[in-house]
């Protein structure tokens, strides 16, 4: 098992904020919109440096999405940001009609996704957003795994012409990907080559997959670990190449098992290469209040859950 270390932990939302600031300096067409969560989204630095390109929308997410769509008509690249719940479920029809169907170059930037926002509870812990967004034709869906990758992704999506859903979160997590990485939309990242089981993880679950890989190695199991930062378009080639070798799969995500990364992988397997698959995901339920660690444990999103899922998948080969 390849060694991964880290010296610092940071929140992925800060990767977004820092990426946006750098992007603002590089590209005068980049504009920021936020619905009264500027501090939580780490957009203060962008707002301070580019006040004329930052638009406070107030608590009015539907309007924010429409505004962003309209701004693209004048050649702007809007980064419209709020919590993941309000950036998707609350404004699904606005995204569908004004952004996706209209083919607008809007970047929907969503923080506090999944369970790990913690104590605020289920009203704020969206676990369905990946599913909703990936269902929209033409929408790119990205869920990076750490600060560096979120920063790189934020900058990369400005170069992509089309709507993007960028999902990140609140908790501090180890920074283990390189600061100078080139983020390629739709390109899976091989973290560890293995032969017994393929673990496809996204977002905060990628680090847990690495930890699980170490435990599995101690048990004599060779796990292939792949970071799927882009859920749509899915790197089908990478998925099939890995499964051809390992012949069984674990998917890991901070999302409902319905509609997330696991389902995207399952669809590929069902049509191209049937193989046993185990889900590490929230089992079709809402979250609740608690610390992020408590919630991840209660809802089955830990390193231990990934290890157990890998063993189950291998036993079903």
């Amino acid at each position: 098992m390849k060694e991964y270390t880290y010296t610092e932990k940071k929140d992925t939302r800060s990767g977004f904020g820092d990426g946006l600031l750098e992007l603002g300096r590089q590209n005068p067409n980049v504009v920021g919109l936020c619905a009264d969560l500027t501090g939580s989204l780490k957009m203060n630095a962008f707002q301070k440096e580019f006040p004329e390109r930052f638009f406070q929308v107030g608590i009015a997410e539907a309007n924010m999405i429409g505004l962003a769509a309209g701004m693209t008509i004048g050649g702007k690249i809007p980064f419209a940001a709020t919590f993941a719940n309000f950036a998707t479920g609350r404004v699904y029809d606005q995204i569908r009609q004004s952004v996706a169907y209209s083919g607008k170059n809007v970047k929907i930037c969503a923080s506090h996704a999944g369970l790990t926002l913690g104590e605020d509870g289920a009203t704020h812990q969206i676990l369905e957003d990946i599913g909703m967004m990936k269902m929209l034709p033409g929408m790119t869906v990205i869920n990076p795994c750490d600060y560096n990758q979120t920063k790189a992704a934020t900058m990369a999506i400005a170069e992509h012409d089309g709507p993007v859903y960028l999902r990140f979160g609140r908790p501090v997590v180890p920074i283990f990907t390189p600061a100078d990485q080139k983020f390629e939309i739709g390109k899976a990242v091989m973290l560890n080559e293995g032969t017994d089981v393929s673990i496809f993880a996204t977002g905060h679950l990628v680090w847990k997959a690495i930890l699980a890989g170490k435990t599995l190695a101690e048990k004599g199991i060779s796990a292939e670990i792949i970071n799927i930062h882009t859920i749509k378009p899915l790197d089908v080639e990478a998925v099939l190449a890995s499964v051809a070798k390992t012949r069984c799969v674990v998917t890991a995500e901070e999302h409902n098992r319905l509609g997330g990364l696991g389902d995207s992988i399952a669809q590929v397997l069902a049509t191209a290469h049937p193989a046993p698959q185990e889900y590490v995901a929230v089992n079709d339920t809402f979250g609740e209040s608690g610390t992020p660690e408590e919630l991840m444990e209660k809802y089955g999103l830990t390193e231990e859950n990934i290890v157990a899922a890998a063993e189950r998948a291998i036993s079903r080969k």
């Binding site: 390109r53 009015a60 429409g66 505004l67 309209g70 008509i73 004048g74 209209s102």
Partner: protein
């Protein structure tokens, strides 16, 4: 400048031709929304044949051009006819309205690449936000042309409109002229029966808008109102026209009733409508 710059007499002839197109389009596919389309014809014809500065050589950005957004997308027949008659595409294409593989979808869309359209609409309440975004982009681009947007009165029941209304005043988006098609009708009945809109002038003024009223079915009154609206731009406030129209205007049996919101005329009714919509030189597609 406006590529047509028609006189009032010419505008009346154009409007009659557009109304002929509308009833023929919805009749041909036995679907679509003639009522609101007929009511707003004079407004569309005023904008595209007199008031707006634009080029028929369409670009998405429309740099240094006035832009138009239709929020109540169901009145697509009037917009399609006006775009074709103004020169954005061949009028023959109106015959494809609502048919398979057409660029003239039931509700307007950019998806099929129809020139003149900058965003999809149909699901109500979204157009004002998009128009405001386009208006703010114009400001960032130091482009001092204007953005026009039309909304239905029933559409004002959507909450997003009021989010956008609040935003426009707060951010002093004063390069926009929004118009409400005040025909007092919606699908289930009159707006008074379905959901009272109350005093719209007072409501928008309370939201910080400059509000004026217009008769939308009389060029002699509508054109000065559009001039007045233009003169009110650039003064720190968004501008709203409450435009009184009659649903179905121009076809007597369609006028004043919500029943023709989304119903097409039959063969006999089409003949009667076309007799009432006579033009000096009809050029039906």
């Amino acid at each position: 400048m406006n590529p047509h710059n028609q006189s009032i007499e010419e505008l009346k002839q154009t409007a009659a031709q557009v109304r002929r197109d509308i009833v023929r389009m919805v009749h041909a596919v036995n679907s679509g929304h003639p009522g609101g389309s007929l009511g707003c014809t004079d407004y569309f014809v005023s904008l595209y044949f007199k008031v707006m500065n634009y080029s028929t050589d369409f670009t998405m950005e429309g740099k240094n051009e006035d832009l138009f957004f239709l929020s109540n997308g169901h009145i697509s027949p009037v917009w399609y006819s006006v775009l074709a008659r103004a020169g954005f595409f061949d009028v023959k294409e109106l015959a494809t309205f609502r048919k398979l593989n057409s660029r003239l979808q039931g509700h307007p869309t950019t998806h099929e690449g129809l020139p003149g359209i900058r965003i999809a609409s149909g699901s109500l309440g979204q157009g004002l936000s998009a128009a405001l975004g386009a208006a703010q982009a114009k400001k960032l681009n130091n482009d001092d042309s204007l953005v026009y947007v039309l909304m239905g009165d029933g559409e004002l029941e959507e909450g997003q409109i009021w989010e956008a209304a609040m935003y426009a005043a707060h951010h002093k988006v004063d390069n926009i002229i929004a118009t409400v098609d005040k025909n007092g009708q919606q699908i289930d009945g009159s707006t008074d029966e379905v959901m009272s809109l109350g005093d719209l002038r007072a409501k928008f003024e309370a939201f910080g808008w400059h509000v004026l009223e217009a008769d939308g079915n009389n060029f002699e009154l509508l054109l000065p109102a559009l001039d007045e609206a233009k003169a009110a731009t650039g003064k720190g406030k968004p501008v709203l026209i409450l435009m009184n129209t009659e649903m179905g205007f121009g076809v007597d049996f369609m006028m004043g009733s919500h029943k023709w919101h989304g119903v097409a005329p039959n063969d006999e009714q089409l003949e009667i409508a076309l007799q009432q919509l006579a033009v000096e030189q009809a050029s039906d597609y």
